[in-house]
């Protein structure tokens, strides 16, 4: 390992770097599990909680005796919110560490950077993040929620509550663009009207002009797919202009970076979101999981969201598949996952859908109240219906594409 790598690893977090430095020596008797996440830079609000839960998952697996009589070793890479490091570390994890599986990627851009690399190296890849849907890749399992699971639920919910005229604001990159198309589709399917769609580069902090435009357009509600720290400003400035009590907001992204802790209750209360997990999900496994996180991390325990909890469940799904297959070899593990494997986790039961390598899961609609999401409605065992429209890995397993790369219409979905 070069001095530069050693420095970068050390600078990100000494505790995290240790397994990476010693990884090679144990590679023979321990099962290497690689995770690539942003632990520094602007995306660390998403990445750090995901790394905390992944670490807990590996510790839980080892505490229960490991897999196939071997311990699992977590090799954690910090991609530093830079796409370039994703490709580099994916290559390192696959070719250097010979990882049994790689979990990671946060933005859709980072997923698309490493997915082809891992397919080429034939290294099993898990993406545990809610995203816009459409990945169709035999080597890749996408355990996060997709628009047909969340957006399709929250749009009719808020339209019934607030009205039919919708104003959409979204982040200006592939996730925001494609999700905005899904929103328009579901608004139309439910008999509503989209008044305008606006996209924001990730470093915009002044939302004043848009807030005026929203007042001018007079929608019944605003739906947001804004992303990252700078975009938190939108919700604050919207509340400061007195708009929050006039035109309510629903969002498909707010909260997965724990944004609800970054704005005050006056600014956030009443916002409605939909995910595959909220901290207040009421089941014994979630209660136990939250207690485990507190015990493990104490005062540093992060607030929990879908990204963090699904990272834990993604690791556990892989572990269950290894147990079922009796080996860590890629193809038998994929076959075990494709057999409709499920895992009962904090969010409920997550089941792999063999047609798409996505997951069926419970979906929740939550309303923000005093910096926590109170659950309004839950839906059991929702299939990834969006990706099922365009992807069939049963009929043709030899695929590794992102079907929505050029938008929904290019994929044959009518808007």
């Amino acid at each position: 390992m070069t001095t530069r790598r050693r420095f970068l690893a050390g600078a990100s977090a000494a505790a995290l770097a240790t397994p990476a430095l010693t990884g090679r020596a144990f590679a023979q008797d321990r099962i290497p599990f690689a995770s690539i996440l942003d632990l520094s830079g602007g995306l660390d609000i998403y990445g750090r909680p995901m790394a905390d839960t992944t670490r807990l998952a590996i510790e839980d697996i080892n505490a229960a005796g490991g897999l196939l009589g071997r311990e699992v070793e977590l090799i954690l890479y910090d991609a530093q919110s830079s796409i370039q490091f994703y490709t580099q570390y994916a290559t390192q994890a696959a070719a250097g560490d010979r990882a049994a599986t790689v979990h990671g990627g946060i933005t859709s851009a980072s997923r698309e950077a490493i997915r082809p690399t891992l397919a080429r190296f034939e290294t099993l890849y898990f993406y545990n993040v809610q995203y816009e849907g459409g990945v169709c890749d035999y080597n890749n399992f996408n355990t996060g929620s997709t628009p047909a699971q969340t957006v399709a639920k929250v749009v009719p919910h808020v339209m019934n509550k607030w009205g039919k005229k919708v104003y959409i604001v979204a982040a200006d990159y592939n996730y925001g663009q494609i999700t905005a198309q899904w929103m328009q589709k579901f608004v139309k399917d439910n008999g509503g009207e989209t008044l305008a769609v606006e996209f924001f580069p990730l470093d915009v902090t002044n939302f004043g002009p848009t807030i005026q435009k929203i007042q001018q357009a007079k929608p019944d509600l605003v739906i947001s797919a804004l992303v990252g720290g700078a975009h938190v400003s939108f919700y604050r400035q919207y509340a400061a202009a007195g708009m929050k009590n006039e035109i309510p907001i629903a969002s498909t992204t707010f909260g997965v970076g724990n944004e609800h802790k970054l704005i005050s209750p006056e600014e956030g209360d009443g916002m409605i979101c939909s995910y595959g997990y909220f901290e207040m999900v009421d089941n014994p496994r979630n209660a136990a999981f939250k207690a485990r996180m507190q015990e493990r991390y104490g005062a540093d325990a992060p607030a929990l969201n879908e990204l963090a909890v699904r990272s834990y469940e993604g690791a556990m799904l892989w572990a269950e598949a290894v147990k079922a297959a009796g080996t860590t070899d890629r193809l038998p593990v994929i076959e075990a996952l494709r057999a409709g494997l499920s895992y009962d986790g904090p969010s409920g039961t997550v089941t792999i859908d063999p047609q798409t390598h996505h997951a069926s899961m419970n979906v929740y609609i939550g309303e923000l109240e005093n910096q926590d999401f109170r659950i309004l409605e839950s839906f059991e065992n929702q299939p990834p219906a969006d990706t099922q429209l365009v992807c069939d890995l049963n009929a043709n397993p030899n695929q590794n594409v992102f079907k929505f790369e050029n938008g929904l219409e290019a994929a044959g979905i009518e808007l």
Partner: protein, 289 residues
């Protein structure tokens, strides 16, 4: 008509926002020819001061208007004493050193407070109604603060001994020190004041934006473009560049959308620097402050 008034106010706010985040950088660059790449982190530290202080129960006005500039001012003085003063006249080295400093601050704040810190502050002023439209009262307050800050800097430079000595040291450091002025002391005070103004800006923006360790990166590009487009004169440069760039951004955002608003602003800066390589005050308003 109401809409027009509300839009004009938004554009004016966009301009003053740009001036507010740039002024501290302009003071340091204009006076000392030092480019402070940790400027964004000084803004972030101002914001964190407010969040941490209000979480501890301090009044939000006290935290924004007193604690944030005080703390970041002290950080500025320390930075000048420990780092910048060894590197005067070595612009590239200063760039590298302050870049390192910015990474240090991001790492320090992340390791103390984690990747994000809960907050309970919201803008302490309610909305203002203009006919059918509502604008944020706090944004109007920030326009006032920006004007007051510009005025205060002008009065200091124009009428006080400190201002006279600073301008002397800025025009000809050797001559000023030959006349008995301690240029080192002037530089230290200037850097501290620039940092304090930046801390104040960061503190004032804390209730309006996300306060995260990495948020500085969002501001630094815009602050730099404003200062470089403005040229050497602190006040005239910042005010004219902020008006031009903020105005272009606001108008295009209203006409098209935020993406083209940003593009138009950057294009305006490129064209401007092609025509006036030393910034607006390098060509016009040359004798201004």
């Amino acid at each position: 008509m109401d809409l027009f008034a509300a839009q004009i106010l938004q554009i004016v706010y966009g301009i003053s926002n740009l001036a507010l985040i740039s002024l501290g950088l302009a003071i340091i660059f204009g006076m000392m020819r030092v480019i402070n790449l940790a400027h964004g982190e000084f803004l972030m530290l101002g914001g964190y001061t407010v969040v941490v202080a209000t979480n501890a129960g301090v009044n939000v006005w006290l935290a924004m208007l007193v604690l944030a500039p005080l703390l970041v001012g002290v950080v500025g003085v320390l930075t000048e004493r420990l780092l910048i003063r060894w590197l005067y006249g070595r612009m590239i080295d200063t760039l590298l050193a302050t870049w390192g400093l910015s990474l240090f601050f991001i790492g320090l704040v992340t390791s103390i407070f984690g990747a994000s810190t809960s907050t309970t502050i919201s803008p302490p002023l309610g909305p203002v109604r203009i006919g059918e439209y509502q604008v944020s009262g706090y944004e109007m307050f920030l326009i006032g603060v920006t004007l007051a800050l510009l005025l205060a800097v002008w009065l200091t430079l124009r009428f006080t001994k400190l201002g006279l000595v600073s301008r002397g040291a800025m025009q000809n450091a050797e001559m000023a020190s030959a006349l008995g002025v301690s240029t080192r002391r002037v530089y230290m005070i200037t850097f501290g004041l620039g940092a304090a103004v930046t801390g104040l800006a960061g503190g004032l923006l804390a209730p309006m934006t996300g306060v995260l360790p990495t948020i500085g990166a969002v501001y630094i590009a815009k602050a730099f473009i404003t200062v470089i487009s403005g040229g050497a004169a602190i006040l005239a440069g910042t005010a004219s560049a902020a008006t031009l760039l903020g105005g272009v951004n606001g108008v295009f955002t209203f006409l098209t959308g935020p993406t083209f608003g940003e593009v138009a602003m950057l294009l305006a800066a490129i064209v401007l620097l092609r025509l006036m390589p030393r910034g607006i005050t390098g060509s016009i308003f040359r004798k201004s402050l």
